[in-house]
Amino acid sequence: MTGTTNDPVDVVIIGAGASGAAVAWSLAETRMRIVCLEQGDWMNPSDYPTTGMDWEARAMGDYSFSPNRRRASADYPINDDDSPIKIANFNGVGGGTVLYAGHYPRFHPSDFRVRSLDGVGEDWPIDYETLAPYYDENDRIVGVSGLEGDPAYPPKVSQMPPLPLGRAGETVARGFNAMGWHWWPSDSAIATQPYEGRDRCINLGGCLSGCAQGAKASADITYWPMAIRAGVELRTRCRVREVTVNENGMASGVVYHDAGGVTQFQPAEVVIMASNGIGTPRILLNSTSGRFPDGLANRNGLVGRNLMFHPYASISGIFEGAQDGSEGPGDCLWSQEFYETDPSRGFVRGFTYEMTRGRGPVMTALTGMHAGRIPFGTGHHDAYRALHKRITGMVAICEDLPDADNRVTLDPELTDADGIPAPRITYQLSRNSEDMLRFAVDRATEVLKAAGATDVFSEIPLAIGGWHLMGTARMGTDPATSVVNEWGRSHDVRNLFVVDGSLFVTSAGVNPTRTIQALALYVADQMKQRLTSLFD
């Protein structure tokens, strides 16, 4: 099965994204020998799309957040035909943070007590107070731009001033004010001042296809340089096929395919899964053995189940006055007026509105023509100019509830270039999500009309919006209802850990990256506190 066996290491981390970078950096101080295997490559910001005139085309092509569209050699295909929400990810050093918006909210205290408060989902085995110091530590490394005093949150500190409102931010803020509803400058992982060697944002736009300025805190330029200086080895172009186990039922290492296609075995004392909510269950389910015939850490059959996205609604208004178009970071403010449960709304839990500043010249044309607002022929130019820099709005990030039938399995036919089975997604929107999405569209429409929009259009669910991948190896104290314990260790395999979004018990109604990274630091800290009894 294996072509080469490497020298044993203490820890092997699978995946160099948001969580893998954070756990690698935190564990580095132990002086253990740590190797991270990443199937993608290092990024070169000078190659990012905004360095060229074709930046919008490349954002839909080689920098698309859809792996099925991007089809880079580092990618694996994903069968998401049985899901109304399509998967977004990125495979490279930094993982999904290379292409994320940098919208960077924390969870709320209530998000960890969903069962107790609302009778749905499950409670987390940890609470906000437990995670708060790790949020703070992560914030210092990432550098968060924001404004203190948000009444929707417990007190928290920002390292830098908030992103500029611009014309579009002012427009949307006026709409929320007219309704008497909450809004606040977003916490953002985009530097508004020079920070730890990163330069400040210069409003390139195009954040979703990589930040050529280096102002956006992707993990390749935050955690990784520090982790490598501290002694962590990062091997790129290494695609893990499976985690192996020994006769004692402990993880013994990983089998991977290197850049040259050679199969290698990396022995390790500890294996840490950091491959996101799709990649981690994919590898675990592909790690079958006599002791674990249904996949590693899967004796209770929960690996891959309870997949959660954030169902998104997109709501945009057309205004007579000029907005910002694609210039500037896409998001600059949020509203959490409807975050907490209110039974009168007809659904439980809630959502965050994240402002979407505008769109570029090409996207304005494509969306306008697709919607029939821009005709073919001589009417094209006037109709286009009525939309150019005239659109702004928001998305609603709705809390998804765990459902065991929403899951990741292995596709029986589709494989990646190394012959590893591809993940297959089975997912349906819940009635609760559908009701929440409709409510979110109706309220956002009121906001945008109050702000002066002459027309409002929306999309639910946002089909391309499978950015947040959660719940597929969730944490808990009960081995019957969770995959890992309250500090990230597998119930079944005592030297196997999970640190990515798979851990999430519930999804909250906010972007997950800040919580993913805080959780990774928390799990690392728990490991460090137990080094002498880690496998007991």
């Binding site: 905004t50 360095t51 060229g52 005139m53 074709d54 930046w55 919008e56 085309a57 709320h108 205290p109 209530s110 960890f112 007590r113 408060l117 609470d127 906000y128 404004l147 005093g149 009444p151 929707a152 949150y153 417990p154 500029p164 409102l165 611009g166 014309r167 931010g169 002012e170 803020a173 006026r174 004010n177 008497g180 909450h182 809004w183 606040w184 210069i202 409003n203 390139l204 736009g205 050529a212 300025q213 178009g325 694609s326 210039e327 500037g328 907490e340 570029g360 010249p361 090409v362 044309a365 494509l366 023509m369 697709h370 073919f376 022929g377 001589t378 094209h380 130019h381 100019r385 150019h388």
Partner: protein, 155 residues
């Protein structure tokens, strides 16, 4: 297969290229009022072809429909207004191919320096110069600052 397709089946024939160019001009015509070229402009259409890559063959397989819809004289023989109507008919009949064509054309058209300048948009990549964004009127936040904390207690 349409005679617009080259014998290899992978590239557009000369005739197919002419039809695609005329179609581009029908979708986005030149405008003297706005001082912009059409999408059939030499530089823009060259960019369209250069950017198309492997999907050009797929597009080529569908262009014959335009001639079928046009009847005698074909698409190239129709006047401008008729070509626009035929393009709409093409979009109704072949939405997937039409969407690809529209996408290709818009991607090249709306990065042409002449077009961007006519829109008041700098004809350069975003990086390295970036853009100026006003900080905004933070007094808008005053009514929100006045609110008491409203996050949900858990104890």
């Amino acid at each position: 297969m349409s005679d617009l397709i080259g014998s290899s089946g992978r590239i557009l024939s000369e005739a197919g290229t002419a039809v695609l160019r005329a179609l581009a001009g029908a979708i986005i015509p030149a405008s003297t009022e706005h001082g912009v070229p059409g999408a059939d402009d030499e530089a823009i259409f060259t960019d369209v072809l250069a950017s198309a890559g492997p999907i050009l063959a797929f597009i080529g397989e569908h262009l014959g429909l335009l001639d079928e819809l046009a009847g005698d004289g074909g698409f190239l023989g129709a006047d401008a207004a008729r070509q626009v109507a035929l393009a709409e008919g093409f979009r109704q009949a072949q939405p997937e191919a039409a969407a690809l064509i529209v996408s290709l054309i818009c991607q090249s058209y709306y990065r042409d320096p002449r077009v961007l300048e006519s829109l008041g948009t700098p004809a350069r990549p975003p990086f390295p110069e970036g853009y100026d964004i006003d900080d905004g009127d933070w007094s808008l936040l005053d009514p929100v600052r006045a609110r008491d904390p409203f996050f949900r207690p858990v104890n």
